[in-house]
C-alpha cells in the first residue's frame, strides 16, 4: 500500500528540540499520550483474546439465517447481524484476533530475520553488505500487494499464507532500518574499542549492536504493525486474504460495502475498530519515540 519507507517516515533522530520543549511543558499530557493508546490496545487485546474464552459469544461464522440483517442494538446482538445472520460483535472480536495475530507474526519475522540481515550487512560491510542490500532492494521494488495476491491465489487464501506473503515485505523494511542504524553505530568509539579488544563479531553484534538499535526498531515496529493490519485488511477486502466465512475486518468491510446504502453500520463498525487500532499503534509509537528520545 502506501507503506512509506521506514527510516524516512520515523522522523530523524534529531527531533529532540521539540521533545525537550514538550518535556518542559508538563508530564501529564505526555503520560496521557502514552497511556491512552496503550490502554486502548490492551483493552482490544483483552477483548479479542481473553474475553471469548471466558464468556460465550455467538458463533462468528455459524450464524442462523433466522437472524439475518438485524440492526445494531438488537436484543442479543449489540452490533447487529450481517446478511447471513452472523453476530457482528463477535466477528469484530474474532476478526481482531486475526489482525493481531497476523500483525504480530509478520512484525516478529521482520524484526528477527530482517533485523539480523540488516545488522550483518551493516556490521560486516563489503561483499556481504552488497549482496544483502541488493536482495533487499529487489524485494522492496517488487509490489507487495501483487505478491500477496498471487500467493493467495496460487496456494489458496489462509491466515498462514497471508503471514508468509506479508513477511516477504517486512523483512527488507526492517533490514534496511537495522542496516542504517548499525552503520551509524559502527563508527562510535565503544564499537572501535570492542573490535580492538578482539571481541568476536557475533558477540559484538549481540552485546552491543542489538541493545542499541532495539529501541529504534521497536518504535518503528509499532508503526509497521499498523501497516500490516491495514494490508491484511486490504487482502481480505479484495478476497485474497482470510477466506469467507471466517471473520476479518477487511472482509467485513468488503461485505458491508455491498449493502452500504441499506446498512452502513456494517462498514462503519469494522472501519472504526480498524482505525482506532491503527491510530493507537501509531500514537504509541510516537509517544515511545518521544520518551526514549530516539
Amino acid at each position: 500500500m502506501s507503506a512509506p519507507l521506514p527510516e524516512l517516515l520515523a522522523p530523524d533522530a534529531a527531533v529532540k528540540p521539540v521533545a525537550a520543549r514538550a518535556r518542559a511543558r508538563g508530564g501529564w499530557a505526555r503520560g496521557l499520550r502514552l497511556w491512552l493508546p496503550a490502554g486502548f490496545l490492551l483493552l482490544m487485546l483483552g477483548a479479542c483474546f481473553v474475553w471469548p474464552n471466558i464468556y460465550t459469544l455467538p458463533n462468528p461464522v455459524r450464524g442462523s439465517v433466522l437472524e439475518a440483517g438485524l440492526p445494531p442494538l438488537s436484543p442479543g446482538h449489540v452490533f447487529g447481524t450481517d446478511p447471513v445472520g452472523n453476530d457482528v460483535f463477535s466477528r469484530i472480536l474474532y476478526g481482531g484476533q486475526i489482525s493481531f495475530e497476523v500483525g504480530f507474526a509478520v512484525t516478529a519475522i521482520g524484526l528477527v530475520v530482517g533485523g539480523l540481515l540488516g545488522i550483518a550487512a551493516g556490521y560486516w560491510g563489503g561483499a556481504v553488505d552488497t549482496i544483502i542490500s541488493r536482495v533487499l532492494d529487489v524485494l522492496i521494488a517488487f509490489p507487495a500487494l501483487v505478491l500477496a495476491l498471487v500467493i493467495a491465489e496460487g496456494l489458496g487464501p489462509s491466515e498462514l499464507h497471508v503471514i508468509w506473503a506479508l513477511s516477504v515485505f517486512s523483512v527488507p523494511v526492517y533490514g534496511r532500518i537495522a542496516r542504517s542504524a548499525t552503520l551509524a553505530l559502527r563508527e562510535q568509539t565503544f564499537m572501535l574499542a570492542a573490535r580492538l579488544s578482539g571481541t568476536r563479531g557475533w558477540r559484538v553484534m549481540l552485546r552491543h549492536i542489538v541493545p542499541n538499535i532495539t529501541p529504534q526498531l521497536m518504535t518503528f515496529s509499532l508503526l509497521g504493525f499498523g501497516v500490516v493490519i491495514i494490508l491484511e485488511g486490504a487482502l481480505s477486502f479484495l478476497g485474497f486474504g482470510i477466506p469467507l466465512p471466517e471473520a476479518s475486518w477487511g472482509s467485513m468491510i468488503a461485505q458491508g460495502q455491498q449493502t452500504l446504502s441499506a446498512s452502513p453500520d456494517l462498514v462503519l463498525i469494522p472501519s472504526a475498530f480498524l482505525f482506532a487500532t491503527v491510530v493507537s499503534l501509531n500514537l504509541l509509537g510516537d509517544a515511545l519515540r518521544e520518551r526514549w528520545a530516539i
Partner: protein, 519 residues
C-alpha cells in the same frame, strides 16, 4: 399459463409489428440520453467483445447485443414472441424443418443489405465457431431459400426452436461485410448490426457508448438518441451511481436489502421481473463424492430453504422443487418424491455415504445473492456434519471450472423461459452439456422428446416427468424461482423498466428500442 403457452408456441407466422406498450407513467417522448449501469461478474463484463460467434459470455451480454444487433425474434411482455428483424416463422409437422421470414427493407448500419443470405452466413458461422456459446441445435443445413427466406433443416425434431432462439447467438445478426472487412478482432470491439443503436465507442467490460441508428427499420424507434452502458462493481455501486445521477437505469439488482431500500426511495422505481430460472445446486455425479446417490440425498435432506427465503430474501420469491418458474411455460412448483428437509435422515446418510470424511468444494457465481445463499447453505450443512469451502467465481473462471470437470457442487440457476432453451434444463442436466454434472440417458431422452414436440400439453407432461425423475435420482435440489429487478429513476419508461418481462436467461432483456423518457 395456457394463454402464455398459446402465444409462445403458435405454429403460424405472425406479422404484427413490435407492440410493447409503455406503462402508466406517461407517454414516451423521443430524444434524450440514457446511461445504463450493469454489475461486473456477470452482465457487466464483455472481455471478448460483442461478436456473436466469439462472445463467450453469450447471453449474459444480451443487453448490449440486443441494442447493437436487434433480434430476429424478441421475448416481450407476457411471453409474447415479437418479430423484430424476422417477420415470422413456420415449423414443419415433424418439427425438423424451420422456415424463417426475414424482414425486408432493412440495412446494416454500414449500408449493406440485411437479407436471408446475411442471416444464413451468420448462423453457419455461429455453428462452426469454437465458442461454448454456440447454438446447440442438431443442424443439418441452413440455407437461403429465397431473398428473404431462411430454411433450417435439423437432424432431430425440435418443437421449441423459436423459444430457443431468444437464448441463442443466432438471434443476433452481424454484418458479414463488416466482419470480413474489419477482421474478427476489430469487429468484436466495434460491431456492426441492424439494431436500434450503433457503436460510437467501446471500452471492453467498462463502457459501451451507442447512438441512435437513423436507418433503423422501425419508424419512430428508438426513442433515445444516446444509450450508454457502464460497468460498475456491484449492486451497491450501481445504486449509488443512480442516486448520484450518474446513470438512470440499473439492470439486474438482486441484493435484498438494497431492493427494500430502493423500494422506499421515491426517486426510483423498482420493477420485479418474472422468474423463469430457479436457483439450484448442481451436483457433479461424475466424480466423488456425489457419484454416490446417498451423498446426494443427504444434501437434499440437509437443506431447509424456507427460513433462508424468509430471512434473507424477505419471501420475495416462490420456492420450487423443479426447473420451472412462474414467468415461463410449463410452470410446476412441486415434484413428486422430492426429498425434503430431514436433519435426522441427513445425519444418517452423511455417515453412510462418508460425506463427513471430505470437505466439499461449494462453488457459485460472484454475486451477492448467490454468495449469501451459499453461505446460508454452508451453515445448514455444517449442522449435520457436512464440511464445505466456498468459492465465488466471475463468469469466465466459472466456465473454466465446469469445463475442467473438477467441480463438485455449484450453486447456479437452471431453467429458462422454455425449459428446452438456453440455460434451460439441458444446459444443467443433459449428457452433452459441458455445464452439466449428469450423464443419464433416460433423462436425456425425456428432455429430447419434450423439445421435439410442438404440442404444449405433451411437452409440459414430459417436463413434469423429468422434474420428478431428477428428484428421484437426487441430481440436484432446487431452491426458489429467482428473478432480479431493474431499477430506474422516475421518468424513464419501457418494457423491463416499468413493465415486467419474463427472463430469457436468468435476467430479462430490456427492449431498448422501446425505452424512453416520459413526457
Amino acid at each position: 399459463m395456457l394463454a402464455l403457452t398459446a402465444a409462445a408456441c403458435s405454429s403460424a407466422s405472425s406479422s404484427s409489428s413490435s407492440s410493447a406498450a409503455p406503462a402508466a407513467n406517461g407517454a414516451p417522448r423521443a430524444g434524450g440520453s440514457l446511461t445504463v449501469l450493469e454489475a461486473t461478474g456477470y452482465s457487466g463484463d464483455w472481455p471478448d467483445g460483442l461478436d456473436p460467434a466469439t462472445n463467450i459470455d453469450g447471453a449474459a451480454d444480451q443487453d448490449y447485443m440486443d441494442a447493437v444487433y436487434g433480434e430476429l425474434f424478441e421475448l416481450g411482455p407476457k411471453g409474447a414472441v415479437i418479430p423484430d428483424l424476422a417477420t415470422g416463422y413456420s415449423i414443419s409437422t415433424d418439427a425438423k424443418t424451420i422456415t424463417l421470414n426475414i424482414r425486408q427493407g432493412v440495412t446494416f448500419t454500414d449500408g449493406t443489405a440485411f437479407n436471408a443470405a446475411a442471416v444464413v452466413w451468420n448462423i453457419n458461422r455461429d455453428l462452426k465457431s469454437a465458442c461454448t456459446c454456440k447454438p446447440t441445435w442438431p443442424v443439418k443445413s441452413v440455407t437461403a431459400t429465397g431473398p428473404y427466406t431462411v430454411t433450417i433443416v435439423l437432424s432431430a425434431p425440435d418443437g421449441a426452436f423459436i423459444d430457443e432462439i431468444f437464448d441463442s447467438t443466432a438471434d443476433w445478426i452481424a454484418s458479414p461485410t463488416a466482419v470480413q472487412k474489419m477482421g474478427e478482432k476489430a469487429f468484436a470491439v466495434k460491431p456492426v448490426g441492424a439494431g436500434p443503436f450503433e457503436v460510437v465507442s467501446d471500452t471492453l467490460s467498462s463502457a459501451l457508448v451507442l447512438k441512435r441508428n437513423p436507418g433503423y427499420w422501425q419508424k419512430g424507434r428508438p426513442y433515445l438518441d444516446n444509450l450508454t452502458f457502464k460497468s460498475v462493481a456491484s449492486d451497491e455501486a450501481g445504486y449509488e451511481a443512480l442516486l448520484a445521477h450518474e446513470g438512470q437505469v440499473y439492470v439486474d439488482m438482486s441484493t435484498p436489502s438494497l431492493l427494500q431500500q430502493a423500494a422506499k426511495n421515491s426517486s426510483v422505481e423498482v420493477e420485479n421481473q418474472l422468474s423463469t430460472s430457479p436457483y439450484d445446486l448442481q451436483l457433479n455425479t461424475l466424480t466423488p463424492p456425489f457419484n454416490n446417490p446417498k451423498a446426494r440425498q443427504a444434501i437434499y435432506a440437509a437443506t431447509n430453504f424456507a427460513p433462508i427465503l424468509q430471512h434473507v430474501f424477505d419471501n420475495m420469491y416462490p420456492s420450487v422443487q423443479g426447473f420451472t418458474g412462474p414467468g415461463g411455460i410449463c410452470y410446476d412448483p412441486t415434484a413428486s418424491g422430492y426429498q425434503g428437509y430431514d436433519p435426522t435422515l441427513a445425519k444418517t446418510l452423511v455417515q453412510q455415504s462418508g460425506l463427513d470424511q471430505v470437505t466439499i468444494n461449494l462453488g457459485t457465481i460472484q454475486n451477492l445473492v448467490a454468495q449469501e445463499t451459499t453461505e446460508a447453505l454452508q451453515t445448514q450443512w455444517a449442522a449435520v456434519g457436512i464440511k464445505s469451502t466456498i468459492h465465488a467465481y466471475a463468469l469466465a473462471p466459472l466456465i473454466a471450472q465446469f469445463t475442467s470437470g473438477k467441480w463438485q457442487s455449484m450453486v447456479q440457476t437452471a431453467g429458462s423461459f422454455d425449459p428446452a432453451a438456453g440455460v434451460g434444463v439441458g444446459f444443467r442436466f443433459s449428457s452433452v452439456s459441458p455445464f452439466s454434472g449428469v450423464h443419464d440417458p433416460h433423462l436425456d431422452s425425456l428432455l429430447n422428446q419434450a423439445a421435439a414436440l410442438t404440442d404444449m400439453s405433451q411437452r409440459c407432461a414430459l417436463y413434469t416427468q423429468a422434474a420428478n425423475y431428477i428428484a428421484k435420482q437426487y441430481y440436484g435440489p432446487f431452491y426458489f424461482a429467482f428473478a432480479p429487478a431493474n431499477v430506474a429513476v422516475k421518468g424513464v419508461v419501457g418494457p423491463g423498466l416499468t413493465q415486467p418481462l419474463p427472463a430469457v436467461v436468468v435476467t430479462p432483456t430490456v427492449l431498448w428500442e422501446d425505452v424512453a423518457y416520459s413526457s
